[in-house]
Symmetry: C2
Subunit: 438 residues, 2 copies
Amino acid sequence: MVLGELSGCMEVTEDVVSQSSPQLRAAGGSGNIILKTPKGTRDFNPKQMAIRENIFTTIISCFKRHGAVAIDTPVFERKEILLENYGEDSKLVYDLKDQGGELLSLRYDLTDFDIAGQYDPMIPDAECLKVMHEILSSLQFGDFLIRVNHRRILNGIFTVCGVSETKFESVCSTLDKLGKMTWEEVKNEMVKEKGISPETVDHIGEYVQLNGGLCLIEKLLHDPKLADSRLAMEGLQDMKLLFEYLTLFGIIDKISLDLSLARGLDYYCGVIYEAVLLHQQDGHLKESLRVGSVAAGGRYDGLVASFDPKGRKVPCVGVSIGVERIFAIIEQNTEEKIRTSETQVLVAAAQRNFLAGRMKLISELWDAGIKAEMFYKKNPKLLNQLQYCEETGIPLVAIIGQQELSEGVVRLRDVTTRKEIIVPKDKLIEEIKRRLEK
Amino acid sequence: MVLGELSGCMEVTEDVVSQSSPQLRAAGGSGNIILKTPKGTRDFNPKQMAIRENIFTTIISCFKRHGAVAIDTPVFERKEILLENYGEDSKLVYDLKDQGGELLSLRYDLTDFDIAGQYDPMIPDAECLKVMHEILSSLQFGDFLIRVNHRRILNGIFTVCGVSETKFESVCSTLDKLGKMTWEEVKNEMVKEKGISPETVDHIGEYVQLNGGLCLIEKLLHDPKLADSRLAMEGLQDMKLLFEYLTLFGIIDKISLDLSLARGLDYYCGVIYEAVLLHQQDGHLKESLRVGSVAAGGRYDGLVASFDPKGRKVPCVGVSIGVERIFAIIEQNTEEKIRTSETQVLVAAAQRNFLAGRMKLISELWDAGIKAEMFYKKNPKLLNQLQYCEETGIPLVAIIGQQELSEGVVRLRDVTTRKEIIVPKDKLIEEIKRRLEK
């Protein structure tokens, strides 16, 4: 009940927003206030929060299972920092300006899991993919595919196709649009905007349409053209090792090497990956283009060094979970009623004038760590109290009345079965905990 | 280990900040980046995050114990909304400006617990104080006192002392500075800035120095001057009822009616309260002025109506927990080493060439929901693996080697006792869970 009505009154405010502006003027005396959340923000109601909490719990418990320690950094960052590292994607950040005049931007890569440090190749990279797989599996929103690629393989392909090294990143960020754009449009942008010859682009096109598993890796390792590129060969060796490790982790079935995967951010230097949802379409699993990737990441060995005055390298690999996209999908698929509070017991009165008794009893339950509510009325009707439990899913009701008080007992009601038993007051907490353990 | 080195490298960045600016230039090739967090923000390292997580867990579990449902609103709000309601305190908010040109301000009243709705007097108010009491008790950072007052009592006092109603709020916000300012300074501001006559201020002074329990309430209920003020009498009747309820909740010992308590925010209309920490000083408990209030709140019945076009009233009472202040205090008092990760088992190898074996074993543990880590090296030394557990407080080590592999067993080591037992591989998870339950 606590805060419940507040969400109720928030629904009122939502009505308000949907009304025409003259009605938006507040009649409450405190001037003319238009009700809306700031641009680019939203409120979450209790049902949405219950869904979000479940998502965050799933993600965080997975992170902890993998030994993660948490750090927290401001949600906004100095714009130059982001410009340095988001490359062309920095067009997509949301800028703020503080009184100090620093240019600030909101980071969009929250809920990250990163492994930093000098280690043997592909072991941390494999764990990041295992983390991604565990989270997407336990969120249970259907089948998914994790695409992986390697910046060195891409750069190797660009080299053997005749792209000059200076254009790697800019070609990459155009290739990254494949999926949102057709290959024709991508080709067009590469030729017109990035100044790549049509032949080179066609040549790139032959490679980037390839995807598969270990056998594709083997095939590419023996590709005569790619053999000329040290970069490509290094990337493919990494990829072979990674696939070995992913087999040991038992998640290889959801992994696919996809040479068209580019990832926009400039700072990636090694393995890159993204997860997409799949759905049944005429008997085949197809990618749900509507949502895009729900998790992504990669290796960024150079980033930390760029912040260190001595340029000390701290190799990093990480994965980011697209919480907002995941929330949108799960919210859509959630029809059934979900509880918005975790209340275990309602402390109710059978007759009038038991407020004092209810207050004493409920504070004993609270102090015993039991989640309990009571009506904030002096004399609530028993029927209303029982109905409230059935509507909100509270499993137990502790009922006191004249008889109970005189006999030093409490009536404990199971809301689903509607069965009631008499419990001595000093055994009540024990009995409640016993029932809740089931 | 995961993310651990990242915090390690964050320590590097902290060093950097402490160095002189020429050295601040990044040598890592990506231009000249000065390392600092945006003005008014900070990073939190893993130790700090462990402390913060503990604080939030305490607060949120208390909210849930009281049946709270969560809602989430943007951390920044349209400035006009805050200006409307923070009164003179709106000088204290942090403004942002978004691209759309909306004036935005960061709310500072996060971590709120509110009860909204039309109920019998003082019942929700009492629960808010119980929530405050439970949270401050379970955070165990020493003795505290909860001061309560009532806007109607204050306004009644102002009336009988001869303050005109139009000046109530502005006199209130000056009175609120008492504690930070001496009474002389407060008096000075009331006379010079708020234009109250010195006699009136002295008269107010006689009242606002009073504090105590039920007997003070009784005394004031029979105060001949206050008797002329309907407001004061209503407020005192509320206060009497509230103290009854707080006695039933068993928390009255920490509560004191303090007529000098004013609270800055204009929208409070009824009961107001704030919690302060106490410390021993020459045998007496004194308020720790250094920190100020660690939790506060009150009743604001008019606020929701001011947003509703029909001016419908949704009475509200709430409490806000001063998380940042609480964090600062607890961080200061935390000397002993606290674990920053929750890892339960390290999967270790006794000899070389057991990477594949460790990977298979650890993914079985992960899939069984066990928090496990392994070294990201192909051939880590057993001694280093055991030392890592002792340093980081990981309780168990699962060791595999040639002999274990051939016999289909795992060596399970208790890090504290250093005792090792041999467990059949198919019994390992069961045995680990059994030990962790203890």
